[in-house]
């Protein structure tokens, strides 16, 4: 074996080592959460990298000791409703911005981009007052409504980039056929935007599902909490005795569906993320 071959083997090995480290680094923490969620109260406190004897009680008690089932339904309701509303509003807006020439279009895009960069804290007290005056405090609708501040600009932005890519002649054919813009959006473009709507909806769903600040501030009772708040505020008998088994079980429960979604729609998510960022 000569030096050149040697060098090649070494660099090859180093490369695969790097890949292994990357893989381990990204996956291990979640793996550890799964392992921890399957341990009994006492074995939890011994570091063991493999569970030989899975203990499922944590997954039961998380639903018994707190209204976790209710929390999941809350999160689902809030996320689905805010995403549905965002997509409906954004599809119409994206058509207008993406395909019609009118004065003030660039300014509008700039404002939308600006809103998507708002720190949520900057609207917190105004939003709090608004929600109180609408009588929505400690009500899930308050969350569906307030989440629009970050889902709406994002969906408008991404759908606009997708909308621009649809062929111009298709729209002109519809115009010659006598279609109004409303017909064009609902009957011609929407069926073609299916994949884009799925991607954008999924990304907005994840953002809404994970939101914490508004959910923490605008709800009071544990029945009204969404999943992230419930997991953050899980407490044991004392501050120093957190029920780690339960917390890890809850974490796994809310994360596994997300991970499955992400793995299934992997390609589309990446295209959606880059449509929102790189092309913007």
């Amino acid at each position: 074996m000569n030096a050149k071959q040697m060098k090649k083997i070494i660099s090859r090995t180093a490369f695969y080592l790097l890949l292994a480290v990357i893989g381990l680094y990204t996956v291990f923490p979640f793996y550890w959460a799964i392992v921890s969620s399957l341990k009994t109260g006492s074995t939890l406190f011994e570091v063991e990298y493999w569970v030989s004897n899975p203990y499922w009680q944590n997954y039961v008690s998380v639903f018994q000791e707190q209204p976790f089932g209710r929390n999941i339904l809350n999160s689902l309701f809030v996320s689905v409703s805010t995403v549905a509303l965002s997509l409906a509003l954004a599809l119409a807006a994206a058509y207008a911005i993406g395909r019609i020439q009118f004065r003030g279009r660039m300014l509008l895009l700039f404002v939308i981009l600006g809103v998507s960069m708002f720190p949520q804290i900057a609207v917190l007290s105004g939003m709090f007052e608004l929600i109180n005056s609408l009588g929505l405090y400690n009500n899930l609708l308050a969350l569906s409504f307030s989440y629009l501040i970050f889902t709406l600009p994002f969906t408008v932005w991404v759908l606009t980039t997708f909308m621009r890519e649809l062929p111009k002649e298709l729209e002109e054919a519809a115009i010659v056929d006598g279609a109004t813009p409303f017909t064009i959006v609902t009957q011609v473009f929407m069926p073609l935007m299916g994949p884009a709507l799925v991607t954008t909806g999924l990304l907005a769903f994840i953002a809404a599902w994970n939101e914490f600040l508004f959910a923490l501030t605008f709800t009071l009772s544990s029945e009204m909490r969404t999943v992230p708040v419930a997991i953050a505020l899980t407490s044991g008998a004392s501050a120093h005795e957190l029920p780690w088994g339960n917390i890890m079980a809850a974490s796994v429960i809310v994360t596994v569906p997300l991970i499955i979604l992400v793995l299934v729609f992997q390609k589309r998510i990446v295209s959606g993320l880059t449509a929102g960022a790189v092309k913007g």
């Binding site: 002109e172 054919a173 115009i175 010659v176 056929d177 073609l192």
Partner: protein, 372 residues
């Protein structure tokens, strides 16, 4: 059905004038073809007629109705696009029915019209398919069918055949011609291909730089081009142009000095006002030059000599490129010869020019009236 007339139509995109002062009349039931090089404004002109673009000035009328400010659907036009622009998520039937459904036509009429158009285009067996399951030629038929069902006043075609392969293009050309005979509706067709224009058109509109250069039947354009541009654009291979000046006038013949030993004689009307010394461009089509024995022909026939620099064999005919024996750096003279011609590169050749086959163009490029 409708005749179309345009008065002093202008179109500007920002500062660029794409259409300049176009006056044009297309007769009811006519097959008109807009032809010109890319960027000449032919597609824009079509889109102005469709109503997809707004005029910057001037008016457009269908029969006697001013449609300048009407939307496409209100004008009663149907358009076939280069990319077909079929709705990908709808079946062929739904693609064709879409426009009628939007017009709230009753279901029975829709069905009848779609069936009938499908029959005319022989696509009845495809009605349940989606566009992606069709071949290019079939998609093209569906796109045409979508236009037919609406019984428009005018059909507009925007380079509809350029995505098809050569064989299919010839076939669709014949079908379009047949369709026009059957329907009798006004059709406007945009193409950059002068062969398509010559074969399809009742009348051709030649456009260049946003202006109409000439309007006429295919043979009018071939025999009587109004200027250098039309003369060069219509006909393939293109007409030869040789710059020279008038050497002498003799009744209905003028002698043009092109720098060779003998001037070329060209036929003009008796009334011609050409004077010796005037610069002039002489044009001869390759098919009107002959390599036959120079001693034959009438005494009015002129001869030009040169060196063969290229021979293009097309099988049925051949085109010979000749470098003239002049000092001027003119383009080579191309002439048509029989398919198995014996000409080879480097040989000296003499070709004969009939005076009646010559076209003359004055300094500003306009055609001088021909002798017959």
């Amino acid at each position: 059905m409708a005749g179309i007339s345009m008065q002093t139509v202008d179109k500007r995109f920002g500062k660029t004038e794409v259409i300049q002062q176009v006056d044009l009349a297309i007769n009811d039931g006519e097959f008109a073809v807009f032809v010109g090089p890319s960027g000449c404004g032919k597609s824009t002109l079509l889109r102005l007629i469709a109503g997809l673009e707004e005029v910057s000035g001037g008016t457009i009328q269908f029969d006697n109705q001013d449609v300048t400010n009407l939307e496409p659907s209100e004008r009663g036009v149907a358009m076939v696009f280069q990319s077909y622009a079929l709705y990908p998520h709808m079946s062929v039937y739904d693609n064709m029915a879409f426009g009628l459904k939007l017009k709230k036509t009753d279901a029975k009429t829709i069905r009848e019209r779609v069936q009938e158009s499908a029959r005319i285009l022989q696509i009845e067996h495809l009605l349940d398919r989606k566009p992606k399951e069709l071949s290019g030629g079939q998609r093209q038929r569906v796109a045409i069918g979508r236009a037919i069902v609406r019984k428009p006043r005018v059909f507009l075609f925007d380079e509809p055949l350029s995505n098809l392969d050569a064989a299919l293009r010839v076939q669709m050309r014949l079908e379009l011609k047949r369709l026009h005979r059957e329907l009798g509706t006004t059709m406007i067709y945009v193409t950059h291909d002068q062969v398509e224009a010559m074969t399809l058109a009742d009348r051709i509109v030649v456009l260049n730089g946003g202006r109409v250069e000439q309007v006429g039947t295919p043979l009018e354009l071939y025999h009587h081009p109004a200027n250098l541009f039309v003369a060069g654009f219509i006909g393939s291979p293109k007409m030869n142009f040789i710059a020279g000046k008038i050497a002498g006038c003799n009744g209905n013949l003028v002698q043009v000095d092109i720098g060779t030993s003998h001037p070329i004689s060209a036929e003009v009307p008796e009334s011609s006002s050409l004077k010796p010394g005037v610069p002039i461009t002489i044009g001869v089509r390759p098919e009107h030059l002959s390599d036959a024995d120079p001693s034959e022909g009438s005494e009015q026939t002129s001869h030009v000599e040169g060196t063969v620099i290229a021979v293009e064999h097309l099988g049925s005919e051949a085109y010979i490129h000749l470098k003239l024996n002049t000092n001027a750096a003119d383009e080579p003279l191309v002439f048509k010869a029989i398919g198995d011609t014996g000409w080879e590169t480097g040989q000296q050749a003499t070709v004969t020019v009939e005076p009646g086959r010559c076209y003359l163009f004055d300094e500003s490029g306009n055609a001088v009236e021909r002798g017959h």
